[in-house]
Amino acid sequence: MESIIRIENLNYYPLFSNLTLKVRKGSFLSIIGRNGCGKSMLFKILLGLIPTDSTIQIENMSLKENKQAILKHIGVVFENPNSNFIEETPRENMKVYMKNLGYAESKIKKRIDEVCTQFEISSLLDCTISNLSGGEKQLVTLALALLHEPSILLLDDAFSMIDGITKEKIFKILRKYNREQKLTIIQITHDMDDILYGKEIAIIDEQKIILHQKKEKALQEEIFKKAGLELPFMASLSSKLKFYDLIDAPILDMDKMVNTLWK
């Protein structure tokens, strides 16, 4: 299958040296790595915010030449919840964004209602941004990023201030988008349990991507440790239980694990 995103031999001192990344359409990729290894910078390069000489192709278009066209297919949530807003209220931000992309008034209203009902933020639409809590800002930004039905969604530590239960709901919605509309999702996260919601994992270490595989194969303790990371709970549990010969293969689902241990 064709790659929807292709970065080849990216060189960016001092963070990346000969970095290559190919992402297939319909992936749900988690990019992880220690603090400061350049994950956010990778996104900025991918979005054309930081110019580089390397070949970057998104949706079969070269980034250098078609930046404007490419940006219309991408939704982004940046790390700092405060930096995601230009206008005064969430509704204004949404309206202006859609207008910039050329949507008609009626379609704008329809999409805003649809997305906000899905994420349950309709009551926040007309509040001043500065009055919202960190978690609420992040929810609104996510809704904003999905308004224009992008084909790629980039999440940079997008849920750091959202509590665990709400996060579960959000990931359920995102997985639905990923399955049904083949939305390619790439998330950067520090929460190791968030990576289990995805399908693939990529690790950045020593200026390169040292691992990029389906999550079941990627959860190897030695590699994670070397990159300064720890395994998600279920992966760590599986790895240790396997060591004691209590299970044969890694199990990532809690119920399945319980049933396997106590048949």
Partner: protein
Amino acid sequence: MEIKFNDVSFTYNKVNYQKKEVLKNINVSFPESKITGIIGKSGSGKTTMVELLDALLLPSQGTIQIGKFVIQKQSQLKQLNDLHFQVGFLFQFPEEQIFNTTVKEELEMGLKFYHYKTDQIEKRSVDALKMVGLDTSYLSKNPFCLSQGEKRKVALASVLILNPQILILDEPTIGLDAESKQSFIRLIRLLKNRFQKTIIIVSHDTDFLLPIVDYVVVLHDKQIVMSGDKYTVFKQVDQLKKYGIKPPKVIEFSDRVLRKKGIKIGYRDEINDLIKDIYRYVR
């Protein structure tokens, strides 16, 4: 030193229309020389509660007692000046509040303001750095050039230099990677065990809190809905989920085993202890 909330309520009188009630009739006491975790859904009032403890906000109703200090609506901030020498506060994302270009100046700011003697300041700077696990070579480094974990430790040292007996940490591990998190856990344990500090941590990361706290307080919808020793609170997995809190996975696993197989394997802090229990009960 007693730390107590007596029927405290707080309403934001923001200059924008609606008054926002954030806390209602809070009554709680924090045990001395122990680590207490405050958990709750985002927006449940956790940060407000701890800001009240350090007189960064004044309650709309009720009193807060910290040792000999009493904070109430009519309190004069001037009288509460010395409170900050008793209660230290580490904000969220302290990396965004760096004032100086050397770690030495950053640490000394507070004491210099109160005209402490230079040799005293130097000694306390070194002690504060030692408390957070950084050596004296950091004194001449530029805080802007440090890693995120190191920046946070420097921020913590700038608070510890005033030698507060009570320490409040607001989401100390947000945005940190695994190595830095582990380092922080060791640091907090050290502060409690060696220096007998009373520590209050606000976090929504229950996995981080589980191995270090003794006592847990749960905030939901402006009130305290649960409080008690950590296992008592954390093992009520369904209740916690109802309050929007994800219980620690180690505990959730034991709970799942209990529910599905009726076997009580006990509640543990860490995955290694859990493994030992599983091994015992499976064989």
